[in-house]
Symmetry: C2
DNA sequence: ATGCTTATTGCATTCGAATGCAAAAAGTCG
DNA sequence: CGACTTTTTGCATTCGAATGCAATAAGCAT
């Protein structure tokens, strides 16, 4: 409980220099002679001094803190992205504040407000949409925002996504090529750009092939919903039953496969082919062995960090980037 | 890019009061008349004013920020804990800074140092050990530290774990009761208290039953290591092969099951029973249906937050808590 | 109204470090 | 060695909000 806070003034006293000298030694690019620098460093070491980041941020106007807002973590895609984003930013000398904030708009506003209160230099939102009002506030405060894995029509926002339309198209084409003619799409949440874009691509490819989907249902990016939806698909009369399902993300695809195999007693891909989206690590585990469209997380993360830093350090304008990913063929879907 | 920072002085000017008045309106418990409060609030609203948390923290000495350090996120137990911890703290009015920091000691020191620079009010480490030196620094700075899911012999540290020894014992007893006599233990990382304690409990129960484990191998909490270890266990001559494996956590147990089924062509639990530890959500998915010892995450999180807040708000001393969890019987192990 | 208590308010200072400015020291050149 | 340039250094101020203290206003009883 002995609260010892060492200040630059104390270091200065011990080193026999002024407080400004101490500050200069700890400020990269400031002028200080070799001799003073050494004495200050020694004194600082002796006292265990470290500059107070709050005080520094207060006067410089830069905190080197980046706010990272993540919706949920139960879909494995997020923890992976989170970890990569975190590491990438740390490498650039930024400190990351991660906030968890469901998908509720109020919660997100609240969290964003708090981030602004703490004077972060920039904000990254992962799979989250933000209100116009908030965008304005960030813009007014001069704080850049980059949306990761979600798009939004606002020129003030940067965004980094994969090419979801083309991905959806590719998934459909792959299933069609394998000879499937009764294809259903358990869509990603239609309130999100990713969900809509993937569905759009799917539709385009089906149209181009002159095919009609057996079903198009919103799975809400939820395991439970996806499972229920799958049950429904197979309770109807036989001709309506799909022989292939394109699922809006891997997380739901696992639920779909579980339902097919363990509740409906069907085999994958024998009775039904399943294709997912994301290529999370779990998709490669042999228990699922899921054929899926890969989102190149690493490259998406790099692009996100680059865009953000560019805007923070001055010369950047908001960018909208799409990074394409390949179809990863595994064993959950028939091959044509 | 138009950087508008609204200060309390500007609000004061507009409201026709002093800066102190504005501050008082935004400081709970400070004295301000109804009339001024209203005028200040109106002015603040009009200008979009929000108190600068850095400045406030600088003078009050309390930032209401809690540092949360997490090792990895690929084991599903962590994201779940992270999400719960995050929510619980946010509810108490604290803001959480999550830092990701592998398991390397240097990285953890670095991160802890940064947290201290930012004047956090407290620190939670999840599944991470911390050096003596760091503990001292936190103690000196009066910053409480709570270790989540890891123990360490240091009275200055609080810790919250499940009762790992008893859990290990229970797992072994369950397998013995089912008639298994060739039991192996793929241990959790022996550099961690959880890994050691679970192994210790396992040993105790085996001893008590007069049984010798077929094998005791460190799986390092790694999927790859666990898979390799499993291969090894089944390449020897027949009598050495285990008919049951207790695995140090679920994350490794999935790898063990995958290897048994898909590489070795064995059935679970027909040929081999598998018991895990944690009860992560994935354990309940039918693809694995894993029998496992549950770590009561929710209660562990509550205990962690309580311990931390108690210490921050004054009257708390470091505590060491163990929270017991049940054996969850599913389909991956034979039933006696 | 008068005297006294209590609630508001403003002034000035504080937190800890960074920085413009001017003085002092060190370095360079002829 | 003197004149002049370049570095170092300290002083004083600044960032934005909170707070002790003293002054002022409001509230109340007589």
């Amino acid at each position: 409980m002995a609260n010892e806070k060492v200040t630059s003034a104390q270091v200065a006293a011990l080193a026999g220099v002024s407080q400004s000298a101490v500050s200069r030694v700890f400020t990269p690019g400031a002028s200080a002679s070799r001799k003073t620098a050494e004495r200050v460093r020694a004194a600082a070491e002796a006292l265990g001094y470290r500059p107070n980041a709050l005080a520094r941020g207060l006067i410089t106007g830069r905190t080197r803190m980046i706010g990272l807002i993540v919706a949920y973590l139960d879909n494995q895609f997020y923890p992976v992205a989170l970890e990569l984003l975190s590491r990438a930013l740390q490498e650039k000398g930024y400190h990351i504040l991660v906030f968890m904030a469901g998908n509720s708009t109020e919660k997100i506003s609240e969290v964003m407000g708090e981030l602004l209160d703490y004077q972060v230099d920039g904000i990254i939102t992962a799979s989250v949409a933000i209100s116009n009002d908030l965008t304005s506030r960030c813009a007014a405060a001069g704080i850049p925002v980059v949306m990761f894995n979600r798009g939004q029509d606002d020129v003030r926002l940067s965004e980094v996504t994969s090419d979801n339309v083309s991905g959806g198209r590719r998934a459909a084409e792959f299933l069609l090529q394998a000879g499937h003619r009764r294809i259903a799409h358990v869509m990603g949440w239609q309130g999100s750009s990713t969900g809509r874009d993937r569905a759009e691509g799917f539709r385009q490819a089906m149209d181009a092939a002159g095919q009609k989907p057996v079903a198009l249902i919103d799975g809400m990016y939820s395991r439970e919903t996806a499972a229920a939806v799958t049950q429904d698909l197979f309770t109807g009369s036989d001709p309506a039953r799909p022989d292939a399902i394109f699922v809006g993300n891997d997380h739901m695809a696992f639920a779909v496969m579980d339902t097919l195999r363990f509740d409906l007693g069907l085999t994958v891909p024998g009775d039904v082919s399943v294709v997912g989206y994301d290529d999370v690590p779990l998709a490669a585990w042999p228990a699922y062995d899921l054929t899926t469209i890969r989102q190149p997380v690493r490259r998406m993360v790099d692009a996100t960090v680059d865009a953000l830093i560019a805007q923070i350090e001055g010369d950047g304008v908001p960018r909208k980037l799409q990074i394409d990913g390949p179809l990863i063929i595994r064993g959950s879907a028939r091959i044509g």
